[in-house]
Symmetry: C2
DNA sequence: GGATAATTGAGACTGAGTTGCAACTAGGAA
DNA sequence: TTCCTAGTTGCAACTCAGTCTCAATTATCC
């Protein structure tokens, strides 16, 4: 089933409306591969001439998540990312502290162990977050790398471009 | 080596000073078992008659982390926790979405797999975060549980006591 | 073509955490 | 011990992601 149709179905099933804004957001989301954040999305929307307010975007993303079209990646650095989940299945992430690159990994073994642990502790798991921090190939070996994290305030190069005005930042994740 | 001495060593090695505030914070941190957040700590400090500003607390915690005495647990819900690490080793966490209880687990197997993955992707790992969300024994089976998370905005019962004034909240994490 | 409930945008607000700055103080030098 | 200076503190203003309020707008059902 086409994404737009799937979203429409989800909406009508929940007595929600298919608005121009929601259509624009979905269209944009479908056009990106990889992980993106709210600012990325907003910048692209504006560039393509759509007027969607930040509030509306923040209100729509959870709908797209609930409809199963995208997935929210709650980053520990406090900046959530999203990714298209159509035809994909669960995986976890590795984040480069210098360039921001996000790699993916999956391990049925780890998933199994998680369930074992939960069973043992009688814990009902509803979700999990598993992120590896460090430096990707092209950033490792760099001077700035090393040290930081593990012990110490692990906050390194955020990709946030300084930005000029209040919240106009245009980011373009690698 | 006693904690206070270890901290003093760390401080002098870094040309930092052992102030009354730092001593009070360390003493308090040493008196707690389990995971605590900044508000917990601040409330206890005030209760025990110490005047330590929020800013100072935020400035001191990274020092305690760097000295290896405590560890920062970056929660995905945006509220960092800390825990004493003296005589302990690495572990990860399970967080109850209803009561806030934090359980711990450790799996050498998972840690090994992580390293394998990194080796394979030529990623230099400096740290990781692995958190399982769900419901603990006493909260599972409850009505409010179920649904939420996994798909949908996984935000459930934060332990935050309503609190009256601006930031006076007294929390007492289980 | 309405009626009506959902939606939108703007801006105020929240909450965790950070920062600039003037006053203060630990701790080595004299 | 007294001085001197770099480090420290508290406060308040600020940042930043995200949420909320509310009047105006609009999709959908009849
Ligand atoms: Zn996983
Ligand atoms: Zn991914
Ligand atoms: Zn681990
Ligand atoms: Zn722990």
């Amino acid at each position: 089933m086409p994404a737009i149709e799937r979203f429409a179905k989800y909406l009508s099933e929940n007595r929600l409306k298919m608005t121009r804004e929601r259509r624009a957001i979905l269209a944009d989301v479908l056009s990106v591969r990889g992980h993106f954040d709210v600012d990325d999305l907003l910048a692209r929307l504006r560039r393509s001439g759509h007027h969607v307010s930040r509030a509306t975007l923040y209100r729509t993303l959870p709908r797209l998540v609930e409809s199963g079209l995208i997935h929210k990646v709650e980053m520990v650095d406090g900046q959530a990312r999203y990714e298209l989940m159509i035809g994909r299945h669960h995986h976890d992430h590795m984040v480069c502290l210098r360039c921001g690159t996000i790699l993916e990994f999956e391990s049925p073994e780890v998933e199994r162990i998680q369930e074992d642990v939960c069973r043992r502790k009688k814990f009902v798991m509803t979700g999990h977050t598993h992120q590896i921090r460090g430096y990707c190939v092209s950033c490792a070996g760099d001077d700035r790398a090393r040290a930081l994290d593990s012990r110490g305030s692990n906050v390194a190069g955020r990709s946030r471009a300084g930005a000029g005005g209040a919240r106009a930042g245009g980011r373009t994740g690698p």
